[in-house]
Subunit: 195 residues, 4 copies
């Protein structure tokens, strides 16, 4: 008699710890975004790869999808050069580069290490890209650049998925990423589950 | 007394009229591709926009998705300079640029006008991009460049859609393109329906 | 009795006012660079055009020419967001982006306006690009992006020009920029001459 | 007893063998271009590197310099796929891509090998780029892509060089390319000298 094989429950993220928001009239919460697909872009303002690839891609995503379907959220996750990447520096950076999506300043650990949410989410560096489905399940947990086609395909699939209160949720969204997707099990596995 | 509003049935394409295939061991048919999402890229080998944008994008799509989910098909739809874009010229072009997806040579009309399938499909020029869902419904009918994110989102949604023998097909796939999609009603409306 | 028409003497720059140097074992002076062609790139670390175009071009120039012929010098000319573009912020920026050429921190005016050398050189904004010939004459005084071909042509011509102690200097190097050059009379005219 | 070291005379090109010209009211000759710097761009219309890099660069050069100083000349040097890169095919290609500089069709050898001028000039493939100074000396003989800055520097230097009837010609123009230049001695040495 064999035990049934049960797929692992999709990872859920705990709430971020953000003291200051830019481009947002009021603080955002993961709970408040439930029902939308969420692209969470973790960056540092002095990270060349973020400036050249990650942030412009986040801005393109914001423009390509309806705000009712998808939310783009930036997260300033500082883990180096803390003294020169504070809130005022970030504010000038956002102003000059004209990023339009909401950006949360991840709370520092106060010890010069990675910021708090960065550590809790198991992010390996910047740029990192997390994608949550409408139920809040982590569907992508990626460090480094990611191709527009691949990211677009994932977002398109998730946007078409069931709304959070539908009964058939589990089936479609529990599906693992297809071959060729960039989510490493190791990376996703490091994410603390919400409970 | 009002008539009920019935959404128009999704357009189906008639079979292409292709006498010669490159990069294919045997002729492809739309019917034979049923069950897969299909990206049909119509181009001319001397069309600058095709060489710079359309064909490289088709190649990127081929690499980004599993061949079991999606088929990329090129269609050489000549409507000008017929004498110098014949099969042998195309063969040299494909060899030098190393395109790997199957390419069909659309049959000429013999009168110097647009090739036969190009006319039947209502293509306005090159590059044109058509996307069919697993049931063969036209979900995109686009002339000109299209963004990787937008195209990726559509392909990702359709790949996740139901297989052709599922009963719930009509619902998900009959949905019109969302706001912001590039399929112009005029363009799609020009597509002859199958039977 | 008519006065003879004498062409205006080529503009000479006064020394910059730089308190801190990065990527340089000791302070650089214009006088000390005499004999080489000099590309002076004025930028701000939070200026998107500088990060995307100006600084990478300065780095390409550094690599394309022999250090015995040409010196690339960066000048951090802050005129806004002073509080977050101090020396330590610049140091982190230079470290992360791996700029290799010497960069001088232009002295602030202490009043929140353009830095001192920026004002004295009549720079209109960032990125600005000044090119000096081997004698120190200003041959280009340009605000905004400039094409690699055009910049390369000017540098190649000046590098081939006479060394500073040759007697025939004036002739070749006093020549105005050819048609199509980007130095605006207004901009150049604002440059104070060196006694 | 030592022999004096005499630098090798700069290579001169024999006239090209071109039966048909596009974008030119009448045939061009090297002799007729004497006095201008000449950028000779050898390409094939089905060569991806030519279409992506070489031809656009030639067009940029044409726009960046005064026609009285520099002539850009294309040379269609076919060495493969002869049947599909004839004059009519080239004409359609030039029309569609809107190349504006004169293009000569290098005479074929009639045996399916490299075209005649290509062989006489010792070109290794396409794209190839030759630069002649105002006296007609070969100053660059390069196969493959070449950086805009490096090419611009060479052109700027040569344009500033003496006109063909000046007595001081030899000195400036006989100078070898500086360190970092792309002309390989082997490549240049393969060029047949005139006379």
């Amino acid at each position: 008699m064999s035990h049934p094989q049960i797929p692992p429950a999709p990872a859920m993220l705990p709430e971020w710890q953000v003291g200051t928001w830019l481009n947002a009239p009021q603080p955002l919460t993961l709970q408040g975004l439930r029902g939308k697909v969420v692209l969470l872009h973790a960056f540092q303002m002095l990270c060349p790869g973020c400036v050249a690839y990650g942030l412009p891609q986040a801005e393109r995503v914001r423009k390509a999808f309806a705000a009712t379907d998808l939310a783009v959220v930036g997260l300033h996750t500082v883990f180096e050069h803390h003294a020169v990447m504070g809130v005022e520096a970030l504010r000038a950076f956002v102003h000059e580069y004209r990023w339009r999506f909401p950006i949360g300043v991840d709370d520092p650990d106060g010890l010069g290490g990675p910021s708090l949410t960065m550590a809790r989410y198991g992010l390996r560096g910047t740029p990192s890209c997390l994608v949550l489905d409408r139920q809040g399940h982590v569907q992508l947990h990626h460090f480094g650049p990611i191709d527009d086609l691949v990211l677009g395909a994932l977002l398109g699939r998730l946007i078409a998925g069931p709304a959070p209160h539908g009964e058939a949720n589990g089936k479609a969204n529990g599906a693992a990423l297809e071959e060729g997707a960039v989510c490493t099990p190791a990376g996703c596995g490091a994410v603390p589950t919400h409970r």
